[in-house]
């Protein structure tokens, strides 16, 4: 009977669909940034170090990022700032900073302050001489309470006027750190 023959023809196809039942491997999420740590060292007093950190260990999971600032800033001085980005989902944690510095033409950090007046100066630049921002200088101009907003943009338009208005690209990290300037 023909139909039977056709049915027999199909059997090899059904066979190769049966395979093992093993659980799939866990994915190493490579590009996620879980942690941004900003270290500010007082130019006048090298022992005065202020650390600002945002950490979101579950990435796009429901836990909110934890933002910490270690202490107040002082007016009348300036701070040498550096930023480190980590992916702590990987074990050991991956330092994303290296990647960002390597692709300096595709990244830029933007700085702004609100509530208090501050000046930011870029200290590192990409191959075209445009600012990158993993190294910078922060100078509080007034005292009071406010916030420092640090934004890492992927694929910005370069050059720009160093504000987000002309930055383009898309936001990788944006955190407002609450600060007190004394």
């Amino acid at each position: 009977m023909k139909l039977l023959k056709y049915a027999l023809l199909a059997i090899p196809f059904l066979y190769f669909s049966c395979d093992d039942d093993d659980a799939p491997e866990e994915i190493n999420e490579e590009e996620v940034i879980t942690t941004m740590t900003v270290t500010l060292v007082n130019h006048q007093d090298g022992s005065d170090v202020v650390t600002m950190q945002t950490q979101d260990l579950d990435g796009d999971g429901p836990d909110e990022p934890v933002v910490t600032v270690s202490g107040p800033l002082s007016s009348g001085t300036s701070y040498s700032g550096s930023i480190v980005w980590l992916n702590e989902m990987e074990d050991p944690a991956e330092n994303i900073t290296e990647e960002i510095v390597e692709e300096d033409d595709e990244h830029q950090v933007f700085f702004s302050a609100s509530g208090v007046s501050m000046q930011f100066v870029y200290m590192d630049f990409d191959g075209n001489g445009n600012p990158l921002g993993t190294q910078f200088v922060l100078a509080p101009l007034t005292t009071g309470e406010g916030s420092v907003v640090i934004t890492l943009i992927h694929e910005p338009d370069k050059p720009n006027d160093d504000t987000l208005n002309t930055a383009g690209g898309s936001i990788d990290i944006q955190t407002a750190f609450p600060v007190t300037v004394e």
Binding site: K2, L3, Y6, A7, L9, A10, F13, L14, S17, A23, P24, E25, E26, I27, N28, E29, E30, E31, I33, T34, T35, M36, T54, Q55, D56, L57, D58, G59, D60, G61, P62, D63, E64, P65, M89, I96, E99, I100, E102, E103, E106, F110, S112, S114, G115, S147, V149, T151, H154, E155, D157, L164, G168, S170, I171, D172, I173, Q174, T175, A176
Partner: protein
């Protein structure tokens, strides 16, 4: 008539040869004859429908007889021997049959009709409806030819009440009566398409050049194929092969101004009167960036290549075929549509034009999609006394890679899914004497989804295996002269066995640790490995009637219940969906969604005019859809947080299509469609409902001038005034202010004019050429489309001049 005479001549010669042959063979065998008291009773039946054939002549060794009204004939006093019978009938091909006589014998013998009559039967079966009581919208080969450089989504829009949900200019998926994705089932050459259809930015993997006919059933399932088509079914078929010794085919080339390229497509069919045939088909398409009237939509080009092969044997009482098709494309996604956070989208909306506009290019850069879809089908059928039994096995492998803008030198796709589906089905179609039909079938399916972990990105859709089993039966009958009734029922069983890594924080936040502790395989700290298993039992049914007022006037009344199990996205989504810059969360506790669709259609057509009015109400229980519930802060900033919900919904609407011929060659056509959809509990409008639209067309035809045709189409799309308000106030940290993320407000109404012209020429060798010219968006209007997911980033395509030349032979 000429043709018929030729046939008679041919069959006369055959008859003569057969008679001589039987004479010689019998005279040799007869010398061994002994017992000569045997009786041979014969019944001659029509091979394709089993009806008895009267007046068939049977000859053997000088004996000759003619069948009676019931097709019966008896020869007596036959010896124990082999008899070679020559059977002939004026409508049929002659047949020679050898029968061994040892005792009284009864035999049924089936005769095949003349080929030209078979050809007519084939033509009728080509135009056959899938149901006698469901109104089907059809798209003819002519319309498909006019749209051969487009997508399936585009060509389906020519049907009233069907629209398309787009992601950019080329990626479009069909929306039937306001519903789409998993609610619209696509059947390609008898095979249910399995191609990750849950994604609204996933276009169906079908090449329209491989199809000769499309039928659309709105709001109901064709129970033979599926029970979960809450929105409707689209059935795409290639036509049946002719039963003649011939070759035919087509070659088409088309060019278009927008995208600055085009495509070529060709098909070739060789058929034989003995039923054997094969068919080859291929398509190549290449486009560069599309353009709005004011700017280039950077990175919107695509390339596509498709091929298909079909071969088989086509007899009236049995046959088989093997079909293979490959659909493969690479599709650029608008460069500026890559937004990461809510603020990026706010910026994009404020910008009005895309942020990145580069010079025109044919390059297909990142972001892009790369899809390949393989389909292999084996099918056989045989007619028995009790009906036509067919068997089908098919295998599909869908490979989807989505490349996103990534950090580092990562060139791997961010999404890499492979979906393999095997299915096997047995179908029975029986005709009864009282003009009623019974269709029944049984099918099983195995599906495996494999998301490649090498992407280094969390899986959107998990690894899963799915086992389906289904049974259906549909009975239709001609209740009285004017009434056709149909009733059908289908049962679907599905077992899903998935492995998924959930973020432990999410697993606990959604209370899954208490609801589904049995799913947990291992808690790995950051992630929890789970093994969710589900069983779904679904019943769907259909009850329809057609009242035939006259031959050209019909009323269709239909109630259809469709049950759809939640798709993988609705069950398992849990995280950032990059292409929509939002966090999407599914729900493991969903049950099946059940749609009750009532539709009423009036259809009348005569030589001068045709009118179709269709009204529907679709009451959907446990409708699964997404709503924004909050903003979720992450390290990257805030994201809208969307959750799938299950609420009761209702959709209703109606559409009208009216075509009329004035004078001899002047045609006017009108189409109107309105669809409304709401949540039942609070009357909140559903998202992405197609706005009201009106299409009008005038055309003039010059039959004496090579069928030269001019037509002008006007399409007016209203602003969607009923939409859910899913807007959010988003805090902008740099400015310490809140800004509105307005992703809800639909764009303004628009009016487009299209021009079309065509002309045909006969070639010397009997083939014909057709030249088609179309100008779309004649006045180069700048507009946005509510049903384009990328409308926040870009306008629609500007003027497009399309020229196609096709040659048929």
């Amino acid at each position: 008539m000429n043709c018929k005479c030729k046939k008679c001549g041919a069959s006369f010669t055959t008859k003569l040869a057969l008679t001589l042959y039987s004479f010689f063979s019998l005279c040799c065998i007869n010398s061994f004859a002994q017992n000569c008291n045997n009786k041979l009773s014969i019944q001659i039946l029509d091979l394709h429908d089993g009806t008895p054939l009267e007046n068939a002549t049977v000859q053997t060794n000088g004996l000759k007889g003619t069948t009676d009204f019931d097709g019966n004939l008896t020869f007596e006093n036959l010896c124990e021997d082999s008899y070679v019978l020559t059977i002939s009938h004026e409508d049929c091909e002659s047949l020679v049959e050898t029968i061994d006589i040892k005792k009284d014998t009864f035999r049924k013998i089936r005769l095949e009709h003349h080929l030209n009559e078979l050809e007519e039967i084939m033509v009728i079966s080509n135009n056959r409806n899938n149901s006698r009581t469901l109104f089907e919208n059809k798209i003819s080969k002519e319309v498909l030819d006019d749209y051969n450089s487009r997508t399936l989504g585009e060509v389906l829009k020519t049907v009233t009440g069907v629209s398309s949900l787009n992601s950019g200019s080329y990626l479009s998926k069909p929306v039937i009566n306001g519903l789409h994705s998993s609610r619209v089932i696509l059947i390609n050459n008898g095979v249910r398409l399995e191609d990750q259809e849950w994604g609204i930015e996933h276009a169906p993997s079908i090449d329209i050049n491989s199809i000769d006919k499309i039928s659309i059933i709105k709001g109901a399932s064709a129970l033979k194929y599926a029970g979960d088509a809450v929105g409707g079914v689209i059935i795409a078929e290639s036509s049946r092969e002719k039963l003649l010794d011939t070759v035919y085919g087509n070659a088409t080339t088309n060019l278009q101004s927008n995208g600055r390229a085009g495509g070529i497509s060709t098909n070739f069919t060789k058929t034989n009167s003995n039923g054997w045939y094969y068919r080859l088909q291929g398509t190549l398409k290449r486009m560069g960036d599309f353009e709005t009237p004011e700017y280039v939509m950077t990175n919107t080009g695509f390339s596509e290549y498709n091929l298909s092969f079909k071969a088989g044997l086509n007899r009236i009482d049995h046959g088989f075929d093997i079909y293979y098709s490959l659909f493969s494309n690479r599709l650029g996604i608008l460069r500026s549509s890559h937004a990461h956070t809510a603020i990026d989208i706010i910026n994009a909306i404020e910008n009005d034009i895309p942020h990145i506009i580069e010079d025109f290019s044919y390059d297909i850069n990142i972001p892009r999609q790369k899809i390949s879809h393989n389909l292999l089908k084996l099918k056989g059928f045989k007619n028995f006394d009790f009906g036509k039994l067919s068997m089908r096995y098919d295998f599909q492998s869908n490979d989807r890679k989505e490349y996103d803008i990534r950090r580092g030198d990562r060139t791997r796709p961010a999404l890499d899914l492979n979906l393999q589906t095997h299915s096997i089905a047995f179908d029975l179609e029986s005709k009864f004497e009282n003009n009623s039909n019974l269709k029944a079938g049984i099918s099983a399916r195995y599906q495996k989804n494999f998301p490649d972990p090498a992407t280094g990105v969390k899986r959107i859709i998990p690894d899963y295996k799915k086992y389906d089993f289904s049974l259906y039966s549909v009975y239709d009958t001609n209740f009285s002269e004017n009434w056709f009734l149909e009733a059908g029922i289908r049962y679907d069983f599905s077992h899903i066995d998935a492995y998924k890594y959930y973020r432990t924080s999410l697993w606990e936040a959604r209370n899954y640790d208490e609801l589904f502790p049995e799913f947990v395989v291992e808690d790995l700290g950051l992630n929890t490995l789970t093994n969710p298993k589900f069983d779904f039992h679904n019943i769907s049914s259909n009850l329809g009637a057609r009242y035939s007022i006259s031959e050209s006037e019909n009323i269709f009344i239909n109630y259809s219940m469709s049950s759809r199990k939640p798709n993988p996205s609705e069950l398992f989504s849990e995280g950032l969906h990059h292409s929509s810059a939002r966090i999407e969360i599914g729900d493991l506790s969903f049950n099946s969604e059940v749609g009750h669709n009532f539709s009423l259609t009036y259809d009348s057509s005569n030589e001068k005019s045709s009118l179709t009015v269709n009204a529907f109400a679709n009451i959907v229980d446990d409708f699964i859809y997404m709503i924004p519930v909050d903003l979720l802060p992450t390290i990257a900033g805030v994201f809208p947080y969307w959750e799938y919900k299950q609420e009761d919904a209702k959709l209703f609407g109606f559409d009208v299509k009216y075509d009329r011929q004035y004078f001899t060659n002047f045609f006017v056509g009108h189409q109107f469609s309105i669809i409304k959809g709401y949540e039942r509990a609070n009357n909140k409008p559903l998202i992405n409902m197609p706005p009201v639209n009106i299409k009008n067309q005038i055309s003039y035809n010059f039959p004496e001038l090579n069928n030269l045709n001019f037509s002008l189409e006007s399409e007016y799309v209203f602003k969607q005034n009923e939409y859910p308000n899913n807007n959010f106030e988003v805090f902008i940290p740099t400015e310490q202010t809140y800004q509105l993320l307005d992703t809800s407000t639909p764009p303004d109404a628009y009016h487009l004019l299209n021009f079309a012209s065509s002309i045909g020429f006969k070639a010397e060798n009997g083939g014909n050429y057709k030249i088609n010219l179309r100008i779309e968006n004649l006045f180069n209007k700048l507009y946005k489309n509510y049903l384009n997911r990328l409308r926040y980033f870009t306008h629609e395509m500007g003027r497009n001049i399309l020229l196609s030349v096709s040659y048929n032979y």
